[in-house]
């Protein structure tokens, strides 16, 4: 069993496809993960399941991996086993709040794909403003806080951090491609990358809100929470006033157009 505990999760799922259903049942979202290099023991540890549920999960995994053997399951060592439910700390809460605006934009993507007309100046403007939102807000304003500040508190070789960084990079590739598609007036390619970005970020935000951030919060000391909070304030100030408000305005405007009967710009 030790051997499998130290195996990357994606490898295990492809070898034992039944594991996918079991992990899904426990809301462990490794199946759609694009990287999947986290080790089984870290995957289980990071989700902080109640002890009895974790035992049950490990028993079922052992049942799939060794169907004919009665296997003893080693306990997963965990640094921060805290039973008390702790709400997000203030700096982490700020990132979660930024996700809300990003998700509002993602919710508009199907409408854009369905209605866009690349011959129209207004539509091209709207899509390019959307690309500016992705770059200026989701990436520069939000991901920069994660990459330059938050993730620096951790070993950059941690699989979960590598996975997040890889997602950010894939997002950048999508936005680059979708801007090119606007320039070349290629609606098919544009739809492909808009949708690719939406799917990627929706899953990415879910991973952060539900797994990464709570795990980070469980490990941060009070002093570190204060330090993070101050650094986030400095980072936002450096970007100049009004970034949040400006992009909120853009999303609200796009929502208004999408909801309007004639979809008038």
């Amino acid at each position: 069993m030790e051997k499998y505990l130290n195996s990357p999760i994606k490898e295990l799922i492809s070898r034992f496809p039944k594991l996918a259903d079991i992990l899904n049942e426990y809301n462990i979202g490794c199946v759609p993960c694009s990287v999947g290099s986290c080790l089984l023991k870290d995957v289980v540890g990071i989700h902080n399941l109640p002890e009895d549920e974790e035992q049950e999960l490990m028993g079922r995994i052992a049942g799939v991996v060794y169907p004919d053997k009665d296997i003893r399951i080693p306990k997963i060592a965990r640094k921060n086993r805290v039973s008390k439910e702790l709400k997000y700390s203030p700096p982490i809460k700020r990132l979660v709040d930024e996700h809300i605006l990003i998700k509002k934009f993602l919710a508009l993507v199907p409408w854009i794909i369905e209605n866009m007309d690349l011959k129209s100046d207004k539509w091209r403007r709207l899509i390019l403003d959307g690309a500016d939102f992705i770059r200026g807000y989701a990436d520069k304003y939000h991901h920069a806080k994660e990459e330059d500040i938050l993730f620096k508190y951790f070993d950059e070789n941690l699989d979960i951090i590598k996975t997040m960084l890889a997602d950010h990079k894939t997002g950048r590739d999508h936005v680059k491609a979708l801007i090119e598609a606007v320039e070349k007036q290629d609606p098919k390619r544009l739809a492909e990358h808009l949708n690719g970005y939406k799917e990627l970020l929706a899953e990415h935000i879910k991973k952060e809100d539900e797994i990464l951030y709570p795990w980070i919060d469980r490990g941060l000391s009070v002093t570190q929470v204060g330090g993070l909070f101050a650094k986030f304030n400095d980072a936002d100030e450096k970007q100049g006033k009004g970034v949040q408000e400006r992009y909120e305005k853009f999303v609200m405007k796009a929502e208004r157009i999408a909801k309007g009967k004639n979809q008038k710009f």
């Binding site: 709400k87 809460k93 002093t223 929470v225 204060g226 330090g227 909070f229 304030n233």
Partner: protein, 154 residues
């Protein structure tokens, strides 16, 4: 359940069995004086950029390991939100800790009794009136000194 829960008599004397080994001495984790909120000066060096513990008076008597678990590594101010006079000055003092001493965080420790929550309200009022923003955590203890709740309030 009658009368004010903050002053209602309760008896939770421990039975003698199961006493822990209390041999050996423990060092105090207090690193400053004074500590009473009316007496402290936010300009004191030990408050600058510190993680500050704002504790209701009774907390230190309820928590068995107050020094080791809560005071260690922090600067402190204490007060009683129910009986002390001049609570407005408390707001000003805490505001000055936030703006002038530029403290890193504030942890407010109170007892489970309802009147004690006033200390968290005082801290929040100070934060609202301050120019800087900092994280504030609230830890509430039961009368037996266990943690009833621990959460970031702002």
């Amino acid at each position: 359940m009658d009368g004010c829960p903050g002053s209602r008599m309760q008896d939770f004397r421990k039975k003698p069995e199961g006493a822990h080994d209390e041999s050996g001495k423990r060092a105090s984790q207090l690193a400053q004086w004074p500590i009473q909120l009316h007496l402290i000066s936010p300009m004191a060096p030990y408050y600058q950029k510190a993680d500050v513990l704002l504790s209701a008076d009774c907390v230190a008597y309820a928590a068995g390991d107050f020094h080791k678990d809560y005071l260690k590594g922090k600067s402190i101010a204490i007060g009683c939100p129910k009986l002390d006079e001049g609570q407005d000055e408390y707001v000003e003092k805490i505001k000055s800790l936030i703006d002038d001493a530029k403290i890193n965080t504030l942890t407010v420790m109170t007892m489970q009794v309802p009147c004690c929550a006033g200390l968290v309200a005082t801290a929040e009022e100070a934060l609202r009136s301050a120019k800087r923003k900092i994280p504030i955590k609230s830890i509430v203890l039961t009368l037996q000194g266990d943690v009833l709740s621990e959460e970031w309030v702002s």
